[in-house]
Symmetry: C2
Subunit: 332 residues, 2 copies
């Protein structure tokens, strides 16, 4: 389950409006057959991708790898599994879905493949998709619930926030010596990851100073994605309209001295420096930090105090990518 | 092998004068039976600890866990293995030793247990211990060499430096916003890890300013370890002798305006800030950075430029511990 959780975190921020979910498949002797995660809404669920990988390991039938569409993978598995999953265990961070949406139900698939036992982290709070466990149990699959539930619930928190109101994360990229000025900081890989997140955000909030200094575009060009709307959080009403962010197609730009616009959006990224960090601390759910393993630049997060819990940490080729929750706010 | 390497890095800096070595044991179906690492000179080698864990998994005989001494574990395994390792694979980051030193030879043990196949990362450059592979092959164990050799060699570099001359690493602890002032930064766990490293260092090099400002002790009290000698690198010859580092038993303190004393020591830790970082860049092999997930303090590594390759990254309860190599020096 630890590995399923870690894999899922790699796609946190990219799966909106779906939750980040990871899945591991393990053989009768405990051998690891597959680790995979849900990567993007509309693409296969974590369980389907992991079952696809495990099927190849168990059968050496590589033909299934020609399919990327969830329906096709489902159908191929159902037609060809030949009971190869009979003694197999499946670990998933979230209860398998029971509804047919953009993809067929994972609970049905798992039942039909006659998986021996399913370990579930978080129970599904989404009423449309839930009752997956019931479907599994009804078909004779063993189910163990709530394995590493706390860790799985942290992974699920953005999704639960989307359902309830909205999810707001504060993102910054820094060097190891915590500077954020003086040109491009992050690796191409990290910037693609960030653009992927932007392409599923509906609003970016940014401070007026950063807009004036950096003259950013704030789009998702590195992944050919849709650019989110922008809220410039500033008391100043006028900005130099030659700044690139004003010239992105299909985008609205707002300027306001308050954050009430956030109520109208679901998945919100705040970009900024120490001042924005302080001003937004009451509304931010998670923090996302990219660290480039370099020294350079001059200015960064000065005169701020905070304490974080690291939710997940991984290295993406060059940079460190880290999701955190602040643990020094008064309400906690 | 990836997991064996990662496990070994957790003990990098603690195994002097032995190399950091990791070992994984995998069953016939590919199931992971054990991951372990050499933790400290005089304690069992990585292979012995991993074989001990794997034996428990294979036999459910927990009695072997009563033994912590390498001879006892060897003897228990030899007397009780009952060919349970016949279809088992062993991955080790370094060629198993063939000599009987503080512990019996791992190559003999592996041969006697009739392990099916051994995957080796780095070949042993230590003439005393080498020829482990030959011993394995002579007894009919299959051997595959040089698996992930580059990564394993990076793990081995401190050991090779000790053999050749000395290994010098630059250590610092910072907050996420790169400050290094204003009291204790690291978690208790990280500081214990650091004290463990100090207890096997023979020299700490520190700048005169840091000595005056921080008034450090620079001992290994958190692990009841031996305190290394200290070189204060400073043009000033006189220091306030009430500073605690001058009052540690069995320690020599030197004050010099050059680093030539380093030639007389094998395992050297440099502690300091930006100035020391610049002054020592030509002699440092590896960099070790502890990052506390907090914001605070005021000053850190200002006005420095550097680019690192992250060799290993892991989180130790709270803090991030990161070994790095500098990749922007002129000679590379």
């Amino acid at each position: 389950m630890t590995q399923a959780i870690h894999e899922a975190w790699k796609y946190q921020g990219l799966t909106y409006p779906n939750p980040a979910v990871g899945c591991c498949i393990v053989g009768a002797k405990g051998e690891l057959l597959a680790i995979n995660a849900h990567q993007k809404a509309g693409k296969p669920h974590a369980e389907v991708l992991a079952l696809q990988d495990a099927y190849v390991k168990l059968t050496n039938d590589f033909k299934i790898l020609n399919f990327t569409n969830s329906f096709e993978i489902h159908n191929y598995l159902l037609a060809n599994h030949n009971n190869c999953f009979e003694n197999i265990f499946l670990y998933t961070t979230l209860e398998p879905c029971s509804h047919i949406g953009k993809t067929p139900s994972c609970a049905s698939l798992i039942s039909n493949l006659k998986i021996k036992k399913v370990f579930v982290g978080s129970l599904d709070f989404n009423e449309e998709a839930s009752q997956g466990n019931k479907k599994l149990l009804d078909s004779g699959v063993e189910v163990e619930n709530c394995l590493m539930q706390n860790e799985c619930n942290k992974l699920l928190e953005p999704f639960l926030q989307w359902k309830k109101s909205n999810f707001i994360f504060f993102k910054w990229a820094q060097r190891l010596n915590a500077t954020i000025d003086d040109g491009i900081i992050s690796s191409t890989q990290s910037r693609k990851n960030l653009h992927g997140m932007r392409s599923v955000c509906d609003l970016i909030v940014i401070g007026g100073n950063t807009v004036r200094m950096d003259r950013p575009t704030l789009d998702a060009r590195l992944v050919d994605g849709k650019a989110p709307d922008v809220l410039i959080f500033s008391r100043q009403k006028e900005f130099d309209t030659t700044i690139p962010l004003f010239h992105v197609a299909n985008r609205k730009v707002f300027i306001a001295d308050n954050l009430s616009l956030c109520h109208d959006y679901k998945n919100i990224m705040i970009e900024g420096s120490a001042k924005m960090f302080e001003l937004t601390k009451e509304i931010v759910d998670y923090y996302l930090c990219y660290i480039a393993p370099t020294f350079g630049g001059s200015h960064g997060f000065e005169n701020v105090n905070a304490k974080f819990d690291i939710l997940n940490l991984h290295q993406d080729e060059i940079d460190i990518i880290m999701w955190m929750k602040r643990i020094d706010k008064n309400d906690e």
